[in-house]
């Protein structure tokens, strides 16, 4: 059974604020992600969820506040630093290399793990070959894990949306991340695809021990999947806790259903 250790915080967000000109996307948001848990970030449209995710992987730089990942505190972090540090993500709108096969897309996720120079890679000989074989093995393990053997060689543009999402998850997994950020992993999926994806997310968490932070709209899914939920509304954190606690919170109910003024 996975039992996240309360003391073991992988990522801590402290008083983060982010503004685009006069628009305040995030205001003084603090929360943490513990090692090994599935953490959901939810909220109505425009609540600042994706902004939060972009801050986490260094794509946006907060105007105020700090982010502590694996004990290191940074205010400005570049996306490549985030990925080297072990943060991988998927996107709300699938961002794959459309013309490349599923296999190549997932292999692309291992770029940061390749060490041979251009020279050896061009020759594809000696150490480069050995390295590639090892990487291919890891990629095949992911293909096996996500059950996408049948589409290995298919260009992703030809795949249905649900499978593209799965390939994208595969590419993120190829980085062997410690923290996996999923931006609406089930958006636009039908019930069966959602169930499949939920199972894969739980399996990733269980099998690889990857810590997961995800944004999701489907409340049923969020409540089933996550260990803890943080709720944003208009860039402000309005609740934080277990799914049950969050469900009961009056602020959350108001944010979702609206309040009579």
């Amino acid at each position: 059974m996975r039992l996240p250790d309360v003391s073991d915080v992988l990522l801590r967000v402290e008083s983060v604020s982010l503004a685009f000109g006069g628009v305040k996307a995030l205001t003084d948001v603090s929360f943490d992600v513990r090692k090994g848990e599935i953490r959901a970030i939810i909220g109505p449209n425009g609540a600042g969820k994706t902004s939060m995710l972009n801050v986490l992987n260094g794509f946006y730089h907060p105007n105020q506040g700090s982010i502590t990942f694996k004990g290191k505190t940074r205010t400005r972090m570049q996306p490549y630093e985030a990925s080297r540090g072990g943060i991988a993500r998927t996107f709300q709108n699938v961002a794959l290399f459309k013309g490349m096969s599923a296999l190549d897309n997932i292999t692309a996720g291992r770029t940061l793990k390749m060490h041979c120079g251009l020279f050896w890679q061009a020759l594809r000989f000696g150490p480069a070959q050995r390295e590639e074989i090892e990487h291919r093995r890891r990629v095949e393990e992911i293909i096996d894990f996500l059950e996408i053997e049948a589409i290995r060689r298919v260009p992703v543009a030809r795949l249905p949306y649900g499978l593209q999402k799965r390939v994208e998850l595969g590419r993120a997994l190829a980085m062997e991340p410690e923290l996996l950020l999923l931006d609406e992993p089930m958006a636009g999926m039908n019930l069966e695809e959602k169930e499949d994806m939920s199972r894969f997310i739980i399996d990733v968490n269980d099998h690889y021990g990857t810590t997961i932070a995800l944004i999701e709209h489907d409340m049923g899914v969020v409540m089933d999947l996550s260990d803890r939920v943080v709720v944003l509304d208009h860039g402000i954190k309005i609740a934080d806790g277990s799914p049950d606690e969050v469900k009961k919170s009056q602020a959350v109910i108001d944010a979702y259903l609206g309040v009579a003024h």
């Binding site: 059974m1 291919r136 093995r137 095949e140 393990e141 293909i143 096996d144 894990f145 059950e147 053997e149 049948a150 290995r152 060689r153 069966e192 169930e195 199972r199 739980i202 399996d203 269980d206 099998h207």
Partner: protein, 656 residues
């Protein structure tokens, strides 16, 4: 090669294969994208350890062990290991929903279950209360199962490891295993195969070891299969076809059985493995051809015309060349060029390049379809069989191939036609009994030891081959006395690429009506070409142009029926296109994808009534079962179209 001979159990054959073929490939499967091979020696080694491991878990002689999963090596190894301890393997269709599973597992009193993965384990756990004898579940893939209560759950890998450790720790154990194998008798129950249940709930067909092997020896000899052959084991594990063609023949001939990576990759795996022995139901051949034709339509003009030209050449000479009949030199040269340019690459794309012997069975195959594959040089033949016969009753020998017969009796099989027109047989592989059902057994066997097939058929005078008409109990008559053979009509309809499934009604009625399922691949492609927009299967199926197209197909069949005097009166007068595909999950098809006629008639009684009360359209609301077992409703308004019928020529009318 010493074929079978005095071997009366499969474990003994396994010993022989390990000694005789040693390092030859016995089993292949794809792991992480790479084909892995097990030799006969390795297989024997694993199976011995597995058998010992299972014994430690408490598996004894005559215990039953259910096997639920896809064609994974571990599933086949389980069959072998169970047979080694003289226990009885009971394979179950892996897509069976929990209810079906609970019936079979309960009926077979299983003490053990070997499941492929979490999905199957979950299903078994959900029906646990019906399985009082169940001791342990062993499983192949551990994904998702880590947190389960492991008091009665064990990974197959660990069972084998335990057996291996026990063998290493105790030197006398190996001799005990040898003694156990030697103690196996030909009369041992080798396997219980549950029929798919075209006619009600499924029955457990008990097959004995010696009979299984005798049957397989005959056909291995018939098709000259050797240890150098390769087969792709992709058919459902629980179906007699897979157990016979791949498992039994594989062990008897010593050929290699390759397991596909997954059900969706079969087509690719076929190309990579290049089997030399191939079996597929007509449906598969049809899908292959449909896809091929659709892709050819999209090809460039030169390629397309080349394809069509050489297809004509193939039609003219191909079959004669395959049958070894005389063909003019010019024909041979043209065919040779065609082989290089078209047939060869085509077979390569389909993964059939190395196929020496291919069979099809289960349903009638369309003559065009059959001739197409034979003309491009695929040695496709038909066989007729059933679970009770351990598959083969008749099969076509090389050089005597006809699209509309199923061949003469297989070696050592005696076939006779009863007075009622029913086909009856006596064969080396025939079953012993139905498990725990002496009444049904007695019903199926004749006093002089023949098995009743329940199929109506006759021997063709011209060729001496058997022809099957229909299930005997399905053949009926219209009110005016015209013979009504539903399957015959349905098969004729299904030869049209647009029609995937058809169910006809007419017994005791004034005329014949048909329910149609369109073929989504073919019709959606046609829709795309003709700029017909649709949002769902239901919408496409109800489209007036689709109705018209299908109507033309049926009218065409009616014209050709008018020429066949016996059934000319059974032309289809009215039809409708169903709003949903017939599904095994809804009980409308068997797990082997055959229509369960009576069930469909009951379920759609309202539609059948509408056929005969002259309604132009009717409403229907049915319950549908999703793959995960949840249920929902699907409703639609269905139109009924009338069709013209062709007048039966006067002289025929008198004759009829």
């Amino acid at each position: 090669m010493d074929v079978g001979g005095s071997f009366d159990t499969f474990p003994k054959l396994l010993l022989r294969n390990a000694a005789q073929f040693g390092n030859h490939a016995a089993l292949r499967h794809k792991h992480l994208g790479i084909w892995q091979t097990f030799s006969w020696t390795q297989v024997l080694d694993i199976v011995r350890a597995y058998a010992v491991g299972l014994q430690h878990l408490g598996l004894k002689q005559n215990d039953t062990i259910a096997i639920i999963g896809a064609n994974r090596p571990k599933m086949y190894l389980t069959v072998m290991a169970a047979q080694m301890v003289r226990a009885i393997p009971v394979p179950v269709y892996s897509d069976a929903v929990a209810d079906e599973l609970s019936y079979v597992l309960g009926h077979a009193d299983v003490q053990f279950v070997a499941a492929q993965d979490q999905e199957q384990v979950d299903k078994v756990l959900s029906v646990l209360e019906h399985l009082p004898h169940l001791k342990t579940i062993v499983y192949d893939e551990d994904r998702g199962l880590r947190d389960y209560d492991h008091s009665r759950l064990m990974k197959i890998e660990d069972v084998i490891a335990e057996g291996r450790a026990a063998l290493a720790a105790d030197d006398s154990l190996a001799a005990k295993v040898d003694a156990l194998i030697a103690s196996g008798e030909g009369s041992d129950t080798s396997i219980i195969l549950y029929t798919s249940g075209t006619t009600g709930s499924s029955k457990g067909v008990v097959l004995s070891a010696k009979r299984c092997i005798d049957g397989a020896i005959d056909t291995v000899g018939f098709d000259k299969l050797t240890e150098n052959d390769v087969a792709l084991a992709y058919l459902p594990l629980a179906w007699v076809g897979d157990h016979y063609l791949n498992y039994a023949q594989g062990l008897v001939a010593g050929f290699c059985m390759a397991c596909p990576e997954g059900p969706e990759t079969v087509q690719q795996d076929l190309r990579e493995i290049g089997p030399s022995f191939y079996f597929a139901p007509p449906r598969v051949f049809e899908t292959m051809l449909t896809r091929l034709m659709i892709r050819m339509e999209d090809a460039a003009a030169i390629k397309r015309s080349m394809f069509h030209y050489f297809l004509k050449v193939a039609r003219k000479y191909g079959e004669a060349i395959l049958a070894g009949k005389p063909v003019p030199l010019s024909g041979r040269i043209l065919y040779g060029i065609g082989s290089m340019l078209v047939y060869g690459p085509l077979k390569n794309v389909l993964g059939l390049s190395h196929v020496r012997v291919a069979y099809t069975a289960g349903e009638a195959i369309g003559p065009d379809l059959f001739v197409f594959y034979r003309s491009i040089g695929l040695n496709l033949k038909q066989l007729y069989g059933q679970t009770e016969a351990f598959l083969y009753v008749t099969c076509q020998p090389d050089g005597e191939i006809f699209a509309d017969t199923v061949g003469p009796p297989a070696p050592n099989v005696v076939v006779r036609i009863a007075e009622s027109g029913e086909v009856q047989f006596k064969s080396p592989g025939m079953f012993v009994q139905y498990f725990k059902d002496p009444a049904k057994t007695a019903e199926t066997m004749t006093a002089d030891g023949y098995v009743k097939t329940g199929d109506a058929g006759f021997f063709d005078e011209k060729t001496g081959h058997l022809k099957i008409i229909d299930r005997a109990r399905d053949v009926g008559r219209l009110k005016d006395g015209t013979l009504f053979a539903p399957k015959y009509l349905e098969n004729r309809l299904k030869f049209y690429p647009n029609i995937k499934e058809a169910v006809t009604f007419g017994d005791g009625r004034d005329f014949v009506c048909a329910m149609i399922n369109i073929d989504l691949t073919a019709v959606s492609n046609w829709a795309e070409r003709n700029n017909i927009a649709y949002g769902s299967y239901q919408e496409l199926a109800a489209h007036p142009l689709v109705y018209e197209m299908v109507g033309r197909n049926i009218a065409e069949m009616n014209v050709s029926l008018a020429e066949e005097k016996v059934i000319a009166g059974a032309q289809v007068r009215r039809f409708m296109i169903l709003h949903k595909e017939l599904e095994a999950d809804d009980g409308e098809l068997t797990r082997t994808q055959k229509v369960r006629r009576r069930f469909v008639a009951d379920r759609y009684a309202a539609l059948v009534a509408a056929f005969y009360n002259g309604a132009k359209e009717t409403d229907i609301s049915t319950e549908v079962t999703f793959e995960d077992g949840r249920k929902g409703r699907s409703s639609a308004r269905l139109k009924i179209y009338d069709l013209p019928t062709t007048q039966v020529p006067a002289d025929f009318e008198n004759a009829a």
